[in-house]
């Protein structure tokens, strides 16, 4: 993972920060008010022609933050404040969380999302990933299965107990010595399903690695997954709820998120295949009527918006499954598959899907 971008080591970043500061001072001395120009990145748009080039890592247009507008002034203020903190972190070689940064000036930042955006702005400005700034997320992901690796000298030996959960490492760049005898990687949307598979001792009998991001995956989970895919070259499957949010989580794994579009190339896992749950699974596995919940208005709106995302042109089958979901008007959760038998997922569902190649 290291060296994905040029000049992202702390001293290079510190130099960039200094250069930026210098240019600000220079502008001021020339009577120009501070202006920051940021590339605009997006990982999807609603261009139906597919010529939008959203998939590339080039920026689309720029954003100019200056003092011309009030909200820009505030944004600049926040950006600079966060930059001071980042400079400190880099100089002291410390790591801080987004939350740490937020609490440095809670009255100015007023909301965590403001800090998040400033961090994204700084990443774009300095051409680096967030972890390069020494800003870490609180890790949420869990991993288990036929895997062993070390992070900063500490060994995570999942091999000895493949059905025991381990937290996903936060300093993914320090992950080394990855050893695995797994045949595939399974990504599950939620912890409950992860726990189900752990309780079923699924990994004891199936040579695989299971990862969950507990909902929308955080950066360490996605980077770790991406690292595993790069190092191990294993097929990777994803199991999400059959609802618009599950689908969105799926696309986040594959295409990245809009917020982190500038970094999508380092975070997305284009190889991921959708294992389930498909709308058609409700019939195949005879889910009782009650377990199919109607799509809410919000669900429908979200699904309709997702249908127009340009990147789905690369995944037409995914798109048509989403269309089917929208047309059927119902959704269901993975847990609903446990209705007939508590271990259906481990005993039948996943094995049969993998054997039959029922993934897309």
């Amino acid at each position: 993972m290291a060296g994905n971008r040029d000049h992202t080591n702390p001293s290079a970043l510190l130099n960039k920060i200094k250069e930026f500061t210098r240019s600000l001072v220079l502008d001021l001395c020339n009577g120009r008010s501070p202006v920051v120009t940021l590339g605009r990145y997006r990982n999807h748009c609603s261009d139906p022609t597919g010529n939008c080039g959203c998939g590339s890592d080039k920026h689309k247009g720029v954003e100019v933050i200056s003092l011309r507008r009030d909200f820009h002034a505030h944004r600049l203020d926040v950006l600079l404040r966060v930059l001071v903190i980042v400079q400190k972190l880099l100089q002291e070689n410390k790591h801080g969380s987004k939350r740490d940064i937020y609490y440095m000036h809670p009255s100015v930042f007023s909301d965590q999302t403001i800090v998040d955006r400033a961090l994204n702005d700084i990443c774009i400005l300095l051409h680096c990933s967030r972890h390069n700034l020494n800003v870490v997320s609180v890790g949420n992901g869990l991993v288990m299965g036929w895997l062993r690796f070390s992070e900063s000298g500490r060994t995570f030996d999942c091999l000895r107990r493949p059905s025991t959960a381990h937290p996903v490492p936060i300093y993914v760049e320090d992950v080394m010595d990855i050893v695995s005898v797994a045949k595939y990687i399974l990504v599950v949307e939620k912890e409950a399903v992860f726990n189900r598979l752990a309780n079923d001792r699924f990994c004891d009998t199936n040579r695989c690695i299971i990862i969950t991001g507990r909902g929308y995956p955080d950066i360490p989970t996605r980077r770790f997954l991406r690292l595993l895919v790069e190092k191990l070259r294993l097929p990777i499957y994803c199991l999400v709820d059959c609802d618009p949010y599950g689908f969105d989580i799926l696309t986040t794994y594959r295409f990245g998120s809009m917020q982190m579009a500038y970094d999508a190339i380092f975070l997305r896992v284009p190889e991921i295949r959708w294992l389930g749950a498909f709308p058609s699974d409700s019939k195949r596995y005879q889910l009782p009527e009650q377990c199919l919940l109607p799509l809410t208005t919000d669900d429908k709106r979200k699904a309709a918006a997702m249908l127009s995302r340009c990147y789905l042109q690369q995944a037409p089958i995914w798109r048509s499954e989403l269309e089917t979901m929208l047309q059927s008007g119902v959704k269901f959760e993975i847990e609903a598959l446990s209705v007939t038998s508590i271990s259906l997922l481990s005993d039948e569902y996943i094995p049969s899907k993998l054997q039959g190649g029922f993934y897309i």
Binding site: K94, S97, V138, R154, H166, P169, Y171, E335, S338, V339
Partner: protein, 382 residues
């Protein structure tokens, strides 16, 4: 009578009600006793549907126990109970829900399986849709089964994940001759505490630490772990990531029982929620159901406290939010909150301000470690 209980200092442990962590066979046996009781009453000369006596989980049934010989206080539910009756108007469905949940748990126990609450919901939704319409009803019914059988939810075969993490001078071993986890080597996110209470109960714990530091927030925990503060002060770090779950409290309780002379310190935000989190570690809470009471630990309040405010720049003090006031109100109403904790809470309310631990970072990221050391050395805790 209830008042007498409340005022009595000589409250014996017998009157406490809490849920036991039981092996499956014992839970099974308790369910069987419930069935036999039901059938006995039903087949008696004056047949009746026997009511279910649940430990009353209302706040009004909570009491404070103060140890005479130890420093530990806790909240607990006394033997006052509520009745689930089939014959009561508007209660028949809830009555049957208890039995339905018990039936599924019984079958799970026989199979040796665990389920999540969500899976349980779907199972019940598909088998008895007329009784279960929402997850909430399932959750409540589970709580009632817990209150009926007086065993932990986990013992019933219901999985819960734990959010808690632990790090520091602690070595954990699941069973003798099994893999050893050295918590100084767990990285900054710490060792994830398992939700499996049975595992936690059997855990073999070794430590050369002198203190346990309970941290409200994961981010602070991470910072302290990254700084290896447990090497500066020989200590164990624990976080529940906000309000602690049962497993986290259970493990903390086990540590404090295993090492009775190891003081426990809490580092929480200076706001009512921070105090409430501290109190949950310290006393337990009614909201957590029947399982929560026995894991009370004598946690001391290290920081942040009112006299730390001098360390915090004015701009980092945020006004109290309505939610804070709500929590403050419920804390104030509790008889367990004594001075000087009560005074601290009053100070928060009167200043109408709150401060987060992170506010100390204005003195640099190393400051937090110094702060903790200084407080411990000066015995500056409540």
């Amino acid at each position: 009578m209830a008042d007498l209980y409340k005022s009595s200092l000589l409250y014996s442990d017998q009157l406490l009600c809490y849920a036991d962590v039981l092996p499956p066979s014992q839970v099974q046996a308790r369910i069987e006793v419930a069935v036999l009781n039901f059938l006995k009453t039903l087949s008696s000369p004056t047949p009746a549907i026997s009511d279910l006596a649940l430990i009353n989980r209302r706040t009004s049934n909570s009491h404070v126990r103060r140890g005479l010989l130890t420093d530990v206080s806790s909240v607990f539910l006394s033997r006052s109970f509520s009745v689930r009756s089939l014959m009561r108007p508007n209660a028949a469905k809830a009555f049957i829900r208890v039995w339905k949940v018990m039936e599924i748990c019984y079958q799970l126990l026989i199979k040796g399986k665990m389920v999540t609450q969500r899976e349980l919901f779907y199972k019940l939704l598909s088998s008895s849709p007329e009784f279960f319409a929402s997850q909430l009803q399932v959750n409540r019914s589970i709580q009632e089964v817990v209150a009926l059988l007086r065993c932990s939810r986990h013992s019933l075969g219901i999985m819960a994940s734990s959010r808690g993490a632990i790090a520091g001078r602690l070595v954990l071993q699941k069973e003798p001759e099994q893999e050893i986890v050295d918590c100084t080597m767990c990285g900054s996110s710490g060792h994830a505490i398992t939700g499996d209470l049975n595992v936690l109960e059997k855990l073999i714990i070794q430590s050369d630490a002198r203190y346990v530091i309970v941290v409200e927030k994961h981010a602070i925990f991470q910072r302290l772990a990254e700084d290896h503060i447990f090497n500066q002060i020989p200590s164990i770090l624990v976080t529940g990531k906000g309000y602690p779950d049962i497993a986290t409290r259970f493990l903390l309780h086990r540590i404090s029982k295993t090492f009775p002379h190891m003081p426990l310190f809490a580092l929480v935000d200076w706001n009512p929620a921070g105090l409430a989190i501290l109190c949950t570690f310290k006393f337990g809470s009614v909201g957590m159901g029947l399982e929560a009471y026995r894991y009370a630990c004598n946690v001391k309040w290290l920081g942040l406290r009112g006299d730390d405010l001098q360390l915090i720049p004015e701009e980092s003090l945020i006004p109290l939010k309505p939610r804070d006031l709500q929590i403050a109100k419920s804390l104030m109403a509790s008889e367990i909150l004594k001075d000087p904790y009560r005074e601290e809470l009053e100070l928060m309310v009167s200043r109408s301000q709150r401060a987060e631990i992170e506010a100390l970072y204005c003195h640099g990221y190393n400051f937090l470690g110094k702060y903790i050391v200084e407080k411990i050395v000066q015995a500056n805790y409540l």
